[in-house]
């Protein structure tokens, strides 16, 4: 009897573990994305908004650590805090009091900085409608299998987010931009996180599918900052992003934490404001979406044992470096300040412009006087 119970227990345990393995394997192929992108925006300028830059850089740091490369991150910082002359420790941006964690680091690439962070540029990046000469690092080259993380921080209000103290983006514009992205198939799933006052108002108007949104405070509430640092003299981070960073520091690329854990970050006791989230537009169950689906770039690797034969290396075409069409002229360095040549420089040929109004009037007057004096019969000799 005891042996039977033992055997049955063993059988159930084995079946449970095999189900576990199958579950793991099933999860391996559950999410439909093949690449990850991140758009991280800090919209505030001036030294006292240090914490917004620190917020964005903390998310940047976590996202890079979990695997998304710089080429897939569009980082927009509206002002430079690290090399600001008020920063007592240049080239650093700290997120913790007592300068424990430098989120700026040594390997950072900011794509849009200073005056370039405008509502127009942000919307152009999202919708992909950029001028043709924009470099690749400034574009969001996502496709319909991309999971995109969008993080915004700054000063905001009920239905708007302020960009650089001079313009605003409204929640309607943002929702329309996401709809444009959906219609052009520019994302597979999109996670939108916003850390501003009354942040929940920014995701109220979304209507495109596959969007999940998180905000640091509800409508009518302010998001508060975490702690000031007496050496630097400003507040270093906002509460919501501080606890979000703490949560993300525990995530590693093979972590199985899902979105429900993310919703629990920063409860009212820690944040003072009530963080909100919206998942009704998200087609999957949030519990099945992993954190690394958005914050990391987990590559699915298949190991194969078959051999591939490399083709013959390309033979470089014999180039005669010595003779053929090579001119036999001798080159020389140019004189840097040829004084005599400059003094005798002829004035540049001016581009021809059509005659000015004054010149035209003068000629008309001359012709008029001529024909008045000599009569109209001379007209045919002219024309």
């Amino acid at each position: 009897m005891k042996i039977l119970t033992l055997l049955s227990l063993l059988a159930t345990h084995l079946s449970a573990s095999s189900v576990n393995i199958e579950e793991n394997a099933g999860q391996f192929f559950s999410s439909g994305h093949t690449n990850n992108w991140a758009v991280l925006v800090c919209t505030s300028r001036f030294w006292f908004n240090y914490r917004h830059v620190a917020n964005t850089l903390s998310v940047y740091r976590s996202v890079k650590r979990l695997g998304i490369p710089d080429s897939h991150i569009v980082l927009m910082l509206a002002d430079d805090m690290a090399c600001n002359h008020r920063n007592p420790k240049p080239a650093t941006v700290f997120s913790h009091k007592n300068m424990e964690l430098n989120v700026y680091g040594d390997d950072v690439e900011v794509d849009y900085r200073g005056y370039e962070v405008t509502v127009e540029n942000f919307l152009r990046v999202l919708t992909g409608r950029l001028p043709p000469s924009t470099p690749r690092s400034k574009r969001l080259l996502s496709d319909d299998r991309s999971n995109i993380l969008i993080y915004l921080t700054g000063h905001g209000g009920n239905g708007f987010l302020k960009f650089q103290d001079s313009e605003e983006i409204s929640n309607v514009e943002l929702a329309d931009a996401f709809e444009q992205m959906w219609q052009k198939r520019r994302y597979n799933e999109l996670l939108f996180i916003i850390d501003t006052c009354q942040g929940a108002s920014m995701y109220e108007r979304f209507y495109s599918p596959n969007l999940m949104a998180l905000a640091s405070s509800q409508v009518g509430e302010d998001s508060l900052s975490h702690q000031p640092d007496l050496a630097i003299g400003v507040h270093l981070m906002d509460r919501y992003t501080f606890y979000l960073l703490e949560f993300l520091e525990d995530i590693h690329p093979s972590s199985k934490a899902n979105m429900n854990d993310l919703f629990k970050v920063c409860p009212k006791s820690q944040c003072v404001s009530t963080p909100g989230h919206r998942t009704d537009l998200f087609l999957r169950d949030p519990g099945s979406a992993l954190i690394t689906d958005f914050f990391g770039s987990v590559r699915k690797v298949e190991i194969t044992m078959e051999t591939i034969n490399l083709t013959e290396p390309i033979q470089q075409v014999e180039q005669n470096f010595v003779n053929e069409e090579r001119q036999k002229e001798t080159y020389s360095y140019v004189d840097q300040l040829p004084v005599s040549e400059i003094i005798h420089q002829k004035p540049k040929q001016k581009d021809w412009h059509p005659p000015d109004g004054f010149i035209l009037g003068l000629w008309t007057l001359i012709l008029l006087v001529f024909f008045k004096t000599y009569g109209m019969k001379h007209l045919k000799h002219i024309f």
Binding site: A91, V110, D111, S133, T134, Y333, K348
Partner: protein
């Protein structure tokens, strides 16, 4: 050649196991060893010069020489030491010469002497295009956008409002027989901030990256905690040998930094590599053919005032900036330099330094009061006791400062000094800036003052930056001159010279070419009150609502008599009366 190439590559593989670059090189070169590959060569050097005020000046130069031809439509597809991103930029935009620099801080000539490579505060870009380019302005715009992506800088703000076409300054620094200034474009962004995000892509252009060689010293936390930091990229064609029948491409990456004596907290005149860069050197870059450190010991060759440790007996003399200077040399390709501890930390101690009095020095400031008019003063100092020399002054003023050229005066020693060449191109609102170029002869031991009055323009309210009360920048003036040298300069350009003395080509022995940049100016433009549109809307709406609304209501409102609703008792009585069929109360 084939055999030698293969052997060298094999050694290379043994030395650096972790650097991916080396591995790739090995595979490619060994395979096609029968065809002569265009040779490329990489050299790195660091020059350390202690300054009079106790500060210390460190200048890094990394040079890659590549014997290939980007011109005449040659397709280059195999890149080894030359970075591919820059090579593609050169061939796509038909660039003949490219000079870009990012600087934080202003070079104080009177305290620090002359820099090896001058640069203005902010970002500066000047490019010579090849004659085959048909639309130079369009190509310039595309080039600035591409470079803004490569260097993570907002160079896309360079447009026609801050680009000029100098007519006599900025002659090509590389070889060339034709200099038509139609193919030259120059622009500065004095507001551009330089930080780690500009240093990171710059370091990635180096063959060894920041993993080996002198580039390991480039740590941003120390480099940006300095009085002056400048990083630049210079690309130009140079002569391959003394005959100069073939050209090769030279890429120079330079980084100049001046560390402040008082920043680390210690006031002693003692510097070490660790104190400056928080790193020591352990090896040279394996891809470098030469890797050297030069320390300027000119004022004290005996070693009484000056002490350098670990000591070296390698000395070298070089003609730089018109003066013959002596340098202690540390060769990093020799294993003996690193000693038994396998790391090199140079220690430099000195008691006092002679002041290097620069021969040419310039200042610029804005005079006047109020927000309507002002005056720009540029002062040029010639400190040579008996020689006069010509200088070419280039001024590019934005269109919103309207210069009155009839008020332009050039005075030296109280007397009028007529320039022998003036080129002025007036500005066009929102299209072009002012361009003023003058060739002035500076008399010996004098101050020459150039003044011009201007008027400030009112911008449209959408043209103001988000922080308009900070002010608007005017780019630095550029002063190019041939300064008489103290010793005879070496005009033989092909002798083995250290990199820092061979940047500007030298054509005559009695003088050398130098460029000085003045300070950028910060002017306040009359700034409107940006809250006024909101105020006007509120006020107008209130007036309309109160005034028109009341009138409309008075005219169109009609009154109807309405019985007040009866009390509870009356209502119950009415219900009972309705049930009885009797008229209500």
């Amino acid at each position: 050649v084939c055999v030698r190439v293969c052997v060298r590559v094999c050694v290379c593989a043994c030395v650096c196991v972790c650097a991916c670059v080396c591995v790739c090189v090995c595979v490619c070169v060994c395979v096609c060893s029968s065809v002569p590959q265009p040779k490329d060569d990489f050299q790195e050097e660091l020059v350390i010069r202690p300054l009079h005020s106790g500060d210390i000046y460190a200048s890094f130069q990394f040079r890659t020489l590549w014997e290939t031809d980007f011109m005449r439509g040659n397709k280059v597809s195999h890149y080894r030491l030359f970075p591919k991103s820059l090579g593609q930029v050169i061939s796509k935009f038909s660039v003949r010469e490219l000079h870009i620099s990012f600087t934080q801080g202003y070079w104080r000539t009177m305290q620090w002497g002359q820099p090896f490579l001058p640069s203005p505060p902010g970002a500066e870009l000047w490019v010579w295009f090849q004659d085959s380019v048909t639309d130079v302005d369009g190509t310039w715009k595309e080039l600035t956008n591409v470079l803004s992506g490569i260097f993570c800088a907002s160079l896309n703000f360079i447009d026609s409002t801050n680009t000029v076409q100098p007519s006599a300054s900025f002659k090509p620094l590389g070889i060339g027989n034709v200099t038509d200034h139609r193919f030259l474009r120059y622009a500065t962004l004095p507001r551009e901030i330089v930080c780690t995000e500009n240093l990171t892509p710059w370091k990635k252009l180096l063959p060894c990256g920041s993993k080996a060689g002198l580039a390991v010293l480039l740590k941003s936390e120390k480099l940006f905690h300095s009085s002056f930091h400048s990083q630049a990229v210079h690309i130009r064609p140079v002569c391959q040998d003394w005959q100069c029948k073939t050209t090769s491409w030279e890429l120079r990456q330079t980084l100049n930094v001046v560390f402040d004596l008082h920043t680390p907290g210690q006031g002693k005149l003692e510097w070490s590599l660790f104190k400056m860069f928080s790193r020591t050197l352990t090896e040279a870059c394996p891809l470098a053919s030469s890797s050297k450190i030069y320390i300027d010991i000119t004022d004290d060759p005996q070693g009484e005032q000056f002490e350098v440790s670990p000591a070296t007996h390698l000395l070298s003399q070089a003609m730089v900036l018109g003066d013959r200077r002596t340098f202690s040399v540390y060769d990093l390709t020799q294993q003996i330099t690193f000693g038994t501890v396998r790391s090199l930390n140079l220690l430099i101690r000195w008691k006092s330094r002679d002041m290097l009095r620069p021969l040419l020095h310039a200042e610029r400031y804005v005079a006047g009061y109020g927000l309507q008019t002002g005056e720009i003063h540029t002062l040029m100092y010639n400190n040579h006791p008996y020689r006069s020399f010509p200088v070419l002054l280039l001024d590019s003023v934005p269109w919103y400062l309207r210069l009155y050229i009839h008020t332009l005066t050039v005075t030296s020693k109280g007397k009028d000094n007529k320039p022998s060449y003036i080129h002025y191109q007036p500005s066009k609102d929102r299209v072009r800036p002012h361009l003023l170029e003058m060739l002035v002869q500076l008399p010996p031991n004098s101050v020459t003052e150039v003044t011009v009055q201007f008027e400030r323009a009112l911008l449209k309210w959408t043209e103001y930056t988000p922080d308009p009360n900070h002010g608007f920048y005017v780019g630095s003036s550029v002063i190019s001159s041939l300064v008489p040298s103290i010793v005879a300069m070496d005009t033989n350009s092909t002798r083995e010279q250290p990199l820092f003395s061979s940047f500007f080509p030298c054509k005559e022995e009695s003088s050398y070419f130098m460029r000085v940049y003045t300070e950028p100016l910060l002017v306040n433009l009359p700034t409107p009150d940006f809250s006024m549109p909101y105020n006007v809307i509120c006020l107008t709406c209130t007036v309309v609502a109160v005034g028109y609304g009341s009138l409309y209501n008075l005219l169109t409102r009609s009154f109807q008599i309405e019985e007040p609703s009866p009390g509870l008792a009356k209502r119950i009585a009415n219900i009972i009366r309705k049930m009885r069929g009797v008229p209500p109360l």
